[in-house]
Amino acid sequence: MKKIRIGSGAGFGGDRLEPALDLLERGSLDYIVFECLAERTIALAQEQKLKWPDKGYNELLEYRMTKVLPLAVAHKVRVVTNMGAANPHAAALVIKQIATDLGIRQLKIAAVTGDDIFDRLDNYRELPVLETGEKFNSLQTKAISANAYIGAAGITEALRNGADVVVTGRVADPSLFVGPLAYEFGWSPDDYHMLGKGTLAGHLLECGAQVSGGYFADPGYKEVPDLWNVGFPIAEIFENGDLIVTKLTGTGGCVSPATVKEQILYEIHDPATYLTPDVVADFSSVTVKELDPDQVLVSGATGHPRTEFFKTSIGYKDSFIFEAEISYGGSGAYERATLAGEIIARRLAFLKIPVEELQITYIGVNSLYRDTISIQQNGTFHDFKDVRLRVAGRTGQKEAAVRIGYEVEALMTNGPAGGGGVRVYVRDNVSIVSLLVPSADIAVQIEYLEVL
Protein backbone atom coordinates (compact mmCIF):
# COMPACT_ATOMS: atom_id res chain seq x y z
CA MET A 1 0.00 0.00 0.00
CA LYS A 2 1.35 3.41 -0.97
CA LYS A 3 2.29 5.63 1.95
CA ILE A 4 3.43 9.22 2.28
CA ARG A 5 5.61 10.60 5.04
CA ILE A 6 5.03 14.20 6.05
CA GLY A 7 7.05 15.96 8.71
CA SER A 8 6.00 18.97 10.71
CA GLY A 9 8.72 21.62 10.46
CA ALA A 10 7.09 24.30 12.62
CA GLY A 11 4.05 24.65 14.84
CA PHE A 12 4.12 28.44 15.01
CA GLY A 13 5.88 31.35 13.36
CA GLY A 14 8.87 31.46 15.68
CA ASP A 15 9.34 27.74 16.22
CA ARG A 16 12.73 26.02 16.55
CA LEU A 17 14.55 25.11 13.36
CA GLU A 18 16.98 22.33 14.29
CA PRO A 19 14.28 19.67 14.87
CA ALA A 20 13.02 20.42 11.34
CA LEU A 21 16.53 20.06 9.91
CA ASP A 22 16.88 16.75 11.76
CA LEU A 23 13.64 15.57 10.14
CA LEU A 24 14.91 16.56 6.69
CA GLU A 25 18.15 14.67 7.21
CA ARG A 26 16.92 11.50 8.87
CA GLY A 27 13.14 11.39 8.40
CA SER A 28 12.89 9.80 4.91
CA LEU A 29 10.23 12.42 4.31
CA ASP A 30 8.26 13.08 1.17
CA TYR A 31 7.08 16.48 2.43
CA ILE A 32 7.80 18.91 5.20
CA VAL A 33 5.21 21.49 6.22
CA PHE A 34 5.95 24.69 8.12
CA GLU A 35 2.81 26.17 9.72
CA CYS A 36 3.67 29.68 10.78
CA LEU A 37 0.52 31.84 10.93
CA ALA A 38 -1.41 32.56 14.10
CA GLU A 39 -4.75 34.35 14.04
CA ARG A 40 -3.30 37.85 14.22
CA THR A 41 0.05 37.29 12.49
CA ILE A 42 -1.20 38.07 9.00
CA ALA A 43 -2.79 41.36 10.07
CA LEU A 44 0.54 42.50 11.50
CA ALA A 45 2.27 41.34 8.33
CA GLN A 46 -0.16 43.43 6.24
CA GLU A 47 0.87 46.51 8.22
CA GLN A 48 4.48 45.72 7.47
CA LYS A 49 3.71 45.27 3.77
CA LEU A 50 2.01 48.68 3.68
CA LYS A 51 5.26 50.27 4.86
CA TRP A 52 7.61 48.07 2.83
CA PRO A 53 5.88 46.53 -0.22
CA ASP A 54 8.49 43.77 -0.59
CA LYS A 55 8.03 42.60 3.03
CA GLY A 56 5.06 41.14 4.88
CA TYR A 57 6.21 37.51 4.92
CA ASN A 58 7.43 35.51 7.95
CA GLU A 59 10.46 37.25 9.40
CA LEU A 60 12.33 33.95 9.79
CA LEU A 61 11.84 33.01 6.11
CA GLU A 62 15.42 33.77 5.08
CA TYR A 63 16.89 32.10 8.18
CA ARG A 64 14.80 28.97 7.67
CA MET A 65 15.11 28.62 3.91
CA THR A 66 18.87 29.10 3.86
CA LYS A 67 19.18 25.94 5.94
CA VAL A 68 16.10 24.05 4.70
CA LEU A 69 16.58 24.31 0.94
CA PRO A 70 19.92 22.45 0.63
CA LEU A 71 18.62 19.57 2.77
CA ALA A 72 15.25 19.47 1.04
CA VAL A 73 16.94 19.26 -2.36
CA ALA A 74 19.49 16.65 -1.22
CA HIS A 75 16.83 14.40 0.31
CA LYS A 76 14.11 15.09 -2.27
CA VAL A 77 11.64 16.53 0.21
CA ARG A 78 9.04 18.99 -1.05
CA VAL A 79 8.28 21.98 1.14
CA VAL A 80 4.87 23.50 1.88
CA THR A 81 4.54 26.57 4.07
CA ASN A 82 2.27 29.52 4.85
CA MET A 83 5.33 31.67 5.58
CA GLY A 84 4.18 33.91 2.73
CA ALA A 85 1.80 35.53 5.25
CA ALA A 86 0.64 38.82 3.70
CA ASN A 87 2.99 38.56 0.73
CA PRO A 88 3.53 35.08 -0.80
CA HIS A 89 4.79 36.68 -4.02
CA ALA A 90 7.63 38.45 -2.20
CA ALA A 91 8.37 35.31 -0.20
CA ALA A 92 8.69 33.28 -3.42
CA LEU A 93 11.15 35.86 -4.81
CA VAL A 94 13.20 35.60 -1.62
CA ILE A 95 13.24 31.80 -1.81
CA LYS A 96 14.34 31.97 -5.44
CA GLN A 97 17.16 34.33 -4.55
CA ILE A 98 18.33 32.12 -1.68
CA ALA A 99 18.31 29.05 -3.94
CA THR A 100 20.28 30.94 -6.60
CA ASP A 101 22.82 32.17 -4.04
CA LEU A 102 23.25 28.63 -2.70
CA GLY A 103 23.89 27.28 -6.19
CA ILE A 104 20.75 25.16 -6.22
CA ARG A 105 19.53 24.32 -9.71
CA GLN A 106 16.17 23.31 -11.14
CA LEU A 107 13.95 24.40 -8.33
CA LYS A 108 10.32 25.33 -8.94
CA ILE A 109 8.65 27.63 -6.44
CA ALA A 110 4.91 28.27 -6.37
CA ALA A 111 3.20 31.18 -4.63
CA VAL A 112 -0.46 30.52 -3.86
CA THR A 113 -2.60 33.64 -3.42
CA GLY A 114 -6.22 34.69 -3.51
CA ASP A 115 -6.84 34.71 0.24
CA ASP A 116 -6.42 38.48 0.49
CA ILE A 117 -9.83 40.10 -0.11
CA PHE A 118 -9.16 43.44 1.57
CA ASP A 119 -9.91 45.41 -1.63
CA ARG A 120 -13.39 43.83 -1.84
CA LEU A 121 -14.55 44.41 1.72
CA ASP A 122 -17.27 46.81 0.52
CA ASN A 123 -19.17 43.74 -0.70
CA TYR A 124 -19.44 42.40 2.83
CA ARG A 125 -20.54 45.45 4.79
CA GLU A 126 -23.88 43.90 5.64
CA LEU A 127 -22.54 40.54 6.82
CA PRO A 128 -22.71 39.78 10.54
CA VAL A 129 -19.48 39.58 12.50
CA LEU A 130 -19.29 36.03 13.87
CA GLU A 131 -18.02 37.05 17.31
CA THR A 132 -20.60 39.77 18.02
CA GLY A 133 -23.49 39.31 15.58
CA GLU A 134 -23.23 43.00 14.64
CA LYS A 135 -22.99 44.18 11.05
CA PHE A 136 -19.44 44.45 9.75
CA ASN A 137 -19.92 48.03 8.47
CA SER A 138 -19.40 49.43 11.99
CA LEU A 139 -15.80 48.15 11.96
CA GLN A 140 -14.91 48.58 8.31
CA THR A 141 -13.14 51.93 8.60
CA LYS A 142 -10.76 50.46 11.18
CA ALA A 143 -9.95 47.34 9.13
CA ILE A 144 -6.35 46.80 8.05
CA SER A 145 -6.48 43.26 6.64
CA ALA A 146 -8.92 40.64 5.36
CA ASN A 147 -7.76 37.12 4.60
CA ALA A 148 -9.95 34.13 3.84
CA TYR A 149 -8.96 30.71 5.08
CA ILE A 150 -8.63 29.03 1.69
CA GLY A 151 -8.32 25.28 1.24
CA ALA A 152 -5.93 22.71 -0.17
CA ALA A 153 -6.79 23.05 -3.87
CA GLY A 154 -4.11 25.61 -4.77
CA ILE A 155 -1.38 23.58 -3.08
CA THR A 156 -2.52 20.37 -4.79
CA GLU A 157 -2.46 22.07 -8.19
CA ALA A 158 0.97 23.60 -7.58
CA LEU A 159 2.38 20.19 -6.67
CA ARG A 160 0.76 18.61 -9.73
CA ASN A 161 2.56 21.23 -11.81
CA GLY A 162 5.87 20.21 -10.32
CA ALA A 163 6.45 22.75 -7.57
CA ASP A 164 9.23 21.82 -5.15
CA VAL A 165 8.39 24.60 -2.72
CA VAL A 166 4.85 25.92 -2.21
CA VAL A 167 4.48 29.16 -0.28
CA THR A 168 1.06 30.48 0.68
CA GLY A 169 -0.62 33.18 2.69
CA ARG A 170 -3.66 32.32 4.75
CA VAL A 171 -4.63 28.70 4.20
CA ALA A 172 -6.48 26.65 6.81
CA ASP A 173 -3.76 24.92 8.82
CA PRO A 174 -4.80 21.31 8.10
CA SER A 175 -5.17 22.14 4.39
CA LEU A 176 -1.39 22.65 4.20
CA PHE A 177 -1.20 18.88 4.73
CA VAL A 178 -4.32 17.91 2.78
CA GLY A 179 -2.79 19.60 -0.29
CA PRO A 180 0.06 17.09 -0.71
CA LEU A 181 -2.12 14.13 0.31
CA ALA A 182 -4.83 14.94 -2.23
CA TYR A 183 -2.14 15.23 -4.89
CA GLU A 184 -0.34 12.00 -3.96
CA PHE A 185 -3.43 9.85 -3.54
CA GLY A 186 -5.50 11.53 -6.24
CA TRP A 187 -8.36 12.45 -3.91
CA SER A 188 -11.04 14.41 -5.73
CA PRO A 189 -12.36 17.62 -4.13
CA ASP A 190 -15.61 15.86 -3.24
CA ASP A 191 -14.09 12.72 -1.72
CA TYR A 192 -15.12 13.93 1.72
CA HIS A 193 -14.39 10.65 3.45
CA MET A 194 -10.72 10.78 2.51
CA LEU A 195 -10.47 14.57 2.95
CA GLY A 196 -11.73 14.08 6.51
CA LYS A 197 -8.93 11.60 7.15
CA GLY A 198 -6.35 13.89 5.57
CA THR A 199 -7.64 16.76 7.69
CA LEU A 200 -7.08 14.73 10.84
CA ALA A 201 -3.48 14.07 9.74
CA GLY A 202 -3.01 17.78 9.20
CA HIS A 203 -4.71 18.69 12.46
CA LEU A 204 -2.38 16.34 14.34
CA LEU A 205 0.75 17.80 12.76
CA GLU A 206 -0.08 21.48 12.43
CA CYS A 207 1.15 22.39 15.93
CA GLY A 208 4.57 20.79 15.64
CA ALA A 209 5.76 19.13 18.84
CA GLN A 210 2.35 19.38 20.50
CA VAL A 211 1.70 15.79 19.38
CA SER A 212 5.20 14.46 20.10
CA GLY A 213 5.53 15.33 23.77
CA GLY A 214 5.54 19.12 23.72
CA TYR A 215 2.94 20.92 25.81
CA PHE A 216 2.19 17.66 27.62
CA ALA A 217 4.56 17.09 30.55
CA ASP A 218 3.13 17.25 34.07
CA PRO A 219 5.81 15.83 36.38
CA GLY A 220 4.53 13.02 38.58
CA TYR A 221 1.56 12.48 36.25
CA LYS A 222 2.70 12.74 32.66
CA GLU A 223 6.43 12.16 32.23
CA VAL A 224 8.18 13.12 29.00
CA PRO A 225 11.79 12.08 28.43
CA ASP A 226 14.33 14.72 27.32
CA LEU A 227 11.74 17.39 26.71
CA TRP A 228 14.55 19.93 26.21
CA ASN A 229 15.35 18.13 22.96
CA VAL A 230 11.79 17.33 21.82
CA GLY A 231 11.60 15.95 18.29
CA PHE A 232 9.08 17.20 15.75
CA PRO A 233 6.45 14.71 14.56
CA ILE A 234 6.11 12.67 11.39
CA ALA A 235 2.85 11.30 10.02
CA GLU A 236 3.00 8.27 7.80
CA ILE A 237 -0.26 8.31 5.86
CA PHE A 238 -1.50 5.24 4.03
CA GLU A 239 -3.61 5.09 0.91
CA ASN A 240 -6.68 4.13 2.97
CA GLY A 241 -6.25 7.25 5.12
CA ASP A 242 -5.02 5.53 8.26
CA LEU A 243 -1.94 7.14 9.68
CA ILE A 244 0.89 6.51 12.08
CA VAL A 245 2.22 9.36 14.16
CA THR A 246 5.86 8.96 15.08
CA LYS A 247 9.13 10.84 15.61
CA LEU A 248 12.83 10.28 15.06
CA THR A 249 14.81 8.00 17.32
CA GLY A 250 17.34 9.82 19.47
CA THR A 251 15.13 12.87 19.94
CA GLY A 252 13.34 13.81 23.15
CA GLY A 253 9.62 13.79 23.70
CA CYS A 254 7.18 10.95 23.15
CA VAL A 255 4.30 9.95 20.89
CA SER A 256 1.68 8.04 22.85
CA PRO A 257 -2.08 7.51 22.72
CA ALA A 258 -2.36 10.25 25.35
CA THR A 259 -0.34 12.85 23.40
CA VAL A 260 -2.33 12.04 20.26
CA LYS A 261 -5.69 12.30 22.03
CA GLU A 262 -4.82 15.71 23.46
CA GLN A 263 -3.95 16.97 20.02
CA ILE A 264 -7.03 15.46 18.31
CA LEU A 265 -9.22 17.56 20.59
CA TYR A 266 -7.04 20.67 20.50
CA GLU A 267 -8.92 23.75 19.27
CA ILE A 268 -11.99 21.87 18.09
CA HIS A 269 -15.59 22.35 19.11
CA ASP A 270 -18.05 19.64 18.02
CA PRO A 271 -15.76 16.72 17.15
CA ALA A 272 -18.27 15.55 14.54
CA THR A 273 -18.20 18.85 12.64
CA TYR A 274 -14.73 20.31 12.35
CA LEU A 275 -15.13 22.97 9.69
CA THR A 276 -12.38 23.52 7.15
CA PRO A 277 -12.51 24.99 3.64
CA ASP A 278 -12.08 21.47 2.20
CA VAL A 279 -14.49 19.38 4.22
CA VAL A 280 -16.56 19.15 7.38
CA ALA A 281 -14.30 16.67 9.12
CA ASP A 282 -15.71 14.19 11.60
CA PHE A 283 -13.38 13.00 14.39
CA SER A 284 -16.18 11.60 16.57
CA SER A 285 -15.26 7.93 16.03
CA VAL A 286 -11.50 8.16 15.83
CA THR A 287 -9.44 5.46 17.54
CA VAL A 288 -5.79 5.44 18.54
CA LYS A 289 -3.59 2.43 19.14
CA GLU A 290 0.03 2.18 20.24
CA LEU A 291 1.90 -0.11 17.82
CA ASP A 292 5.34 0.38 19.33
CA PRO A 293 6.87 3.03 21.56
CA ASP A 294 6.53 6.37 19.74
CA GLN A 295 4.34 4.80 17.04
CA VAL A 296 0.62 5.44 17.28
CA LEU A 297 -1.90 4.29 14.68
CA VAL A 298 -4.82 6.69 14.16
CA SER A 299 -7.90 5.68 12.20
CA GLY A 300 -11.62 6.22 11.94
CA ALA A 301 -11.91 9.84 10.78
CA THR A 302 -14.37 10.69 8.05
CA GLY A 303 -15.91 13.78 6.49
CA HIS A 304 -19.02 15.42 5.10
CA PRO A 305 -19.60 17.99 2.34
CA ARG A 306 -17.92 21.32 3.02
CA THR A 307 -19.89 24.49 3.59
CA GLU A 308 -20.15 27.14 0.88
CA PHE A 309 -18.29 29.70 2.94
CA PHE A 310 -14.71 30.52 3.85
CA LYS A 311 -14.07 31.94 7.28
CA THR A 312 -12.34 35.26 6.77
CA SER A 313 -10.25 37.01 9.42
CA ILE A 314 -10.46 40.76 9.54
CA GLY A 315 -7.68 42.59 11.38
CA TYR A 316 -8.69 46.01 12.72
CA LYS A 317 -7.24 48.77 14.84
CA ASP A 318 -9.12 48.19 18.04
CA SER A 319 -7.80 50.13 21.02
CA PHE A 320 -4.74 50.85 23.11
CA ILE A 321 -4.05 48.18 25.70
CA PHE A 322 -1.88 48.96 28.69
CA GLU A 323 -0.42 46.54 31.19
CA ALA A 324 1.46 47.69 34.28
CA GLU A 325 2.90 45.58 37.08
CA ILE A 326 4.60 46.06 40.45
CA SER A 327 5.69 43.43 42.99
CA TYR A 328 5.36 43.20 46.77
CA GLY A 329 7.07 40.59 48.94
CA GLY A 330 7.31 39.17 52.43
CA SER A 331 4.67 39.12 55.15
CA GLY A 332 1.75 41.39 54.29
CA ALA A 333 2.60 41.29 50.59
CA TYR A 334 -0.99 40.59 49.54
CA GLU A 335 -2.38 43.40 51.73
CA ARG A 336 0.11 45.90 50.34
CA ALA A 337 -0.50 44.78 46.75
CA THR A 338 -4.28 45.10 47.14
CA LEU A 339 -3.85 48.54 48.72
CA ALA A 340 -1.82 49.50 45.65
CA GLY A 341 -4.60 48.15 43.42
CA GLU A 342 -7.20 50.23 45.27
CA ILE A 343 -5.03 53.32 44.94
CA ILE A 344 -4.79 52.85 41.16
CA ALA A 345 -8.56 52.43 40.79
CA ARG A 346 -9.17 55.61 42.81
CA ARG A 347 -6.52 57.58 40.93
CA LEU A 348 -8.04 56.70 37.57
CA ALA A 349 -11.45 57.86 38.78
CA PHE A 350 -10.02 61.00 40.41
CA LEU A 351 -8.09 61.98 37.28
CA LYS A 352 -11.07 61.06 35.05
CA ILE A 353 -8.81 59.04 32.76
CA PRO A 354 -11.06 57.45 30.11
CA VAL A 355 -10.84 53.67 30.35
CA GLU A 356 -13.22 51.37 28.46
CA GLU A 357 -12.33 48.27 30.43
CA LEU A 358 -10.07 47.76 33.44
CA GLN A 359 -8.75 44.58 35.05
CA ILE A 360 -6.87 44.53 38.36
CA THR A 361 -5.45 41.15 39.40
CA TYR A 362 -2.60 39.80 41.51
CA ILE A 363 -0.04 37.53 39.87
CA GLY A 364 0.66 34.54 42.07
CA VAL A 365 -2.80 34.87 43.62
CA ASN A 366 -5.70 35.21 41.16
CA SER A 367 -4.42 36.46 37.80
CA LEU A 368 -5.23 33.24 35.95
CA TYR A 369 -8.50 32.06 37.49
CA ARG A 370 -9.99 35.01 39.41
CA ASP A 371 -11.41 34.46 42.85
CA THR A 372 -13.72 31.44 42.99
CA ILE A 373 -11.20 28.89 41.72
CA SER A 374 -8.19 30.62 43.30
CA ILE A 375 -9.76 30.57 46.77
CA GLN A 376 -10.57 26.88 46.36
CA GLN A 377 -7.01 26.16 45.30
CA ASN A 378 -5.24 28.30 47.88
CA GLY A 379 -7.54 28.55 50.87
CA THR A 380 -6.79 32.07 52.03
CA PHE A 381 -4.98 34.69 49.96
CA HIS A 382 -3.14 36.12 52.95
CA ASP A 383 -0.12 33.82 53.15
CA PHE A 384 1.47 34.85 49.87
CA LYS A 385 4.96 36.28 50.15
CA ASP A 386 5.50 37.17 46.47
CA VAL A 387 2.59 39.07 44.93
CA ARG A 388 2.61 41.12 41.75
CA LEU A 389 -0.13 43.69 41.12
CA ARG A 390 -1.20 43.70 37.50
CA VAL A 391 -3.29 46.54 36.09
CA ALA A 392 -4.52 46.04 32.53
CA GLY A 393 -6.94 48.13 30.57
CA ARG A 394 -8.27 49.28 27.27
CA THR A 395 -8.62 52.85 26.09
CA GLY A 396 -9.14 54.66 22.81
CA GLN A 397 -6.39 57.18 23.52
CA LYS A 398 -2.70 56.53 23.65
CA GLU A 399 -2.13 59.44 26.06
CA ALA A 400 -4.53 57.84 28.54
CA ALA A 401 -2.72 54.51 28.32
CA VAL A 402 0.65 56.17 28.90
CA ARG A 403 -0.75 58.23 31.79
CA ILE A 404 -1.96 55.09 33.56
CA GLY A 405 1.50 53.60 33.21
CA TYR A 406 2.90 56.65 35.03
CA GLU A 407 0.32 56.21 37.77
CA VAL A 408 1.55 52.67 38.41
CA GLU A 409 5.15 53.87 38.32
CA ALA A 410 4.21 56.54 40.86
CA LEU A 411 3.44 53.75 43.33
CA MET A 412 7.21 53.61 43.87
CA THR A 413 7.29 56.84 45.87
CA ASN A 414 3.58 57.33 46.59
CA GLY A 415 2.30 53.83 47.25
CA PRO A 416 2.61 51.14 49.93
CA ALA A 417 5.97 50.07 51.36
CA GLY A 418 8.40 47.90 49.49
CA GLY A 419 6.99 47.91 45.97
CA GLY A 420 9.47 47.14 43.20
CA GLY A 421 10.02 45.82 39.71
CA VAL A 422 7.65 48.13 37.83
CA ARG A 423 7.10 47.24 34.20
CA VAL A 424 4.76 49.12 31.89
CA TYR A 425 3.66 48.00 28.43
CA VAL A 426 1.45 49.99 26.05
CA ARG A 427 0.44 48.69 22.64
CA ASP A 428 -1.73 49.82 19.75
CA ASN A 429 -3.79 46.66 19.63
CA VAL A 430 -4.88 44.97 16.41
CA SER A 431 -7.80 42.62 17.02
CA ILE A 432 -9.42 40.01 14.83
CA VAL A 433 -13.05 39.40 13.93
CA SER A 434 -14.41 36.88 11.44
CA LEU A 435 -16.89 36.89 8.56
CA LEU A 436 -18.25 34.00 6.51
CA VAL A 437 -17.57 34.93 2.89
CA PRO A 438 -19.07 32.88 0.02
CA SER A 439 -16.30 30.60 -1.24
CA ALA A 440 -17.50 31.21 -4.81
CA ASP A 441 -16.24 34.81 -4.46
CA ILE A 442 -12.65 33.68 -3.98
CA ALA A 443 -10.38 32.66 -6.83
CA VAL A 444 -7.08 31.03 -5.99
CA GLN A 445 -4.10 32.04 -8.13
CA ILE A 446 -0.75 30.35 -8.49
CA GLU A 447 2.42 32.00 -9.68
CA TYR A 448 5.51 29.93 -10.54
CA LEU A 449 9.13 30.99 -10.27
CA GLU A 450 11.92 28.76 -11.49
CA VAL A 451 15.60 28.51 -10.77
CA LEU A 452 17.04 27.01 -13.93
Binding site: E267, G300, T361, I373
Partner: protein, 99 residues
Protein backbone atom coordinates in the same frame (compact mmCIF):
# COMPACT_ATOMS: atom_id res chain seq x y z
CA UNK B 1 -9.87 13.30 44.96
CA UNK B 2 -8.97 15.80 42.28
CA UNK B 3 -9.85 15.17 38.64
CA UNK B 4 -6.11 15.28 37.96
CA UNK B 5 -5.72 11.82 39.50
CA UNK B 6 -7.69 10.10 36.74
CA UNK B 7 -7.71 12.41 33.72
CA UNK B 8 -5.64 14.86 31.69
CA UNK B 9 -6.58 17.93 29.71
CA UNK B 10 -5.42 20.49 27.13
CA UNK B 11 -6.92 23.88 26.34
CA UNK B 12 -7.53 25.22 22.86
CA UNK B 13 -8.85 28.61 21.79
CA UNK B 14 -10.73 30.15 18.88
CA UNK B 15 -11.81 33.76 19.12
CA UNK B 16 -13.78 34.15 22.34
CA UNK B 17 -14.35 30.41 22.77
CA UNK B 18 -12.19 28.11 24.84
CA UNK B 19 -12.26 24.32 24.61
CA UNK B 20 -10.97 21.94 27.24
CA UNK B 21 -10.42 18.29 26.50
CA UNK B 22 -10.81 15.87 29.38
CA UNK B 23 -9.26 12.48 28.75
CA UNK B 24 -9.42 9.50 31.09
CA UNK B 25 -6.07 7.82 31.76
CA UNK B 26 -7.93 4.51 32.02
CA UNK B 27 -11.04 3.67 30.01
CA UNK B 28 -12.74 2.21 33.11
CA UNK B 29 -12.91 5.68 34.65
CA UNK B 30 -14.82 7.11 31.68
CA UNK B 31 -18.35 6.38 33.02
CA UNK B 32 -17.47 8.07 36.30
CA UNK B 33 -16.27 11.16 34.47
CA UNK B 34 -19.46 11.15 32.40
CA UNK B 35 -21.55 11.09 35.53
CA UNK B 36 -19.64 13.59 37.63
CA UNK B 37 -18.09 16.12 35.27
CA UNK B 38 -21.20 17.56 33.69
CA UNK B 39 -21.42 20.74 31.62
CA UNK B 40 -23.31 22.34 34.51
CA UNK B 41 -20.51 21.60 36.98
CA UNK B 42 -17.86 22.93 34.64
CA UNK B 43 -19.90 26.09 34.04
CA UNK B 44 -20.27 26.56 37.80
CA UNK B 45 -16.54 25.97 38.41
CA UNK B 46 -15.53 28.60 35.84
CA UNK B 47 -18.29 31.06 36.72
CA UNK B 48 -15.90 34.01 37.20
CA UNK B 49 -14.41 33.44 33.76
CA UNK B 50 -17.02 31.94 31.41
CA UNK B 51 -19.87 34.32 30.55
CA UNK B 52 -21.61 32.05 28.03
CA UNK B 53 -22.84 28.47 27.88
CA UNK B 54 -20.79 25.33 28.34
CA UNK B 55 -21.37 22.36 26.01
CA UNK B 56 -19.95 18.90 26.63
CA UNK B 57 -19.22 16.60 23.70
CA UNK B 58 -18.51 12.93 24.27
CA UNK B 59 -15.91 10.96 22.31
CA UNK B 60 -16.21 7.46 23.80
CA UNK B 61 -13.75 5.92 21.34
CA UNK B 62 -11.03 8.07 22.92
CA UNK B 63 -12.31 7.91 26.48
CA UNK B 64 -12.59 11.66 26.24
CA UNK B 65 -14.85 14.69 26.50
CA UNK B 66 -14.57 18.07 24.91
CA UNK B 67 -15.95 21.03 26.86
CA UNK B 68 -16.70 24.11 24.79
CA UNK B 69 -16.81 27.29 26.88
CA UNK B 70 -18.46 30.21 25.11
CA UNK B 71 -17.69 33.86 25.81
CA UNK B 72 -14.77 32.70 27.92
CA UNK B 73 -11.75 34.69 26.76
CA UNK B 74 -12.45 38.29 27.72
CA UNK B 75 -13.87 39.23 24.32
CA UNK B 76 -11.39 37.11 22.35
CA UNK B 77 -7.73 36.15 22.35
CA UNK B 78 -6.68 39.17 20.30
CA UNK B 79 -8.34 41.75 22.58
CA UNK B 80 -8.47 40.11 26.02
CA UNK B 81 -6.93 42.02 28.91
CA UNK B 82 -6.07 38.81 30.74
CA UNK B 83 -2.48 37.83 31.48
CA UNK B 84 -3.21 34.48 29.84
CA UNK B 85 -5.21 35.81 26.91
CA UNK B 86 -5.48 32.38 25.27
CA UNK B 87 -6.79 30.79 28.45
CA UNK B 88 -4.09 28.14 28.09
CA UNK B 89 -3.97 27.61 31.86
CA UNK B 90 -7.68 26.78 32.16
CA UNK B 91 -7.03 23.06 31.64
CA UNK B 92 -4.99 22.96 34.85
CA UNK B 93 -7.87 24.56 36.75
CA UNK B 94 -10.29 21.97 35.38
CA UNK B 95 -8.06 19.20 36.72
CA UNK B 96 -8.18 20.82 40.17
CA UNK B 97 -11.94 20.14 40.40
CA UNK B 98 -12.82 17.72 43.20
CA UNK B 99 -14.53 14.47 42.29
Amino acid sequence: MKLREIAHSRTGDKGNISNLSLIAYRMEDYPRLRQEVTAERVKEWFRDIVQGEVIRYEIPSLGAFNFVLKDALGGGVTRSLSLDAHGKSLSSALLDMEL
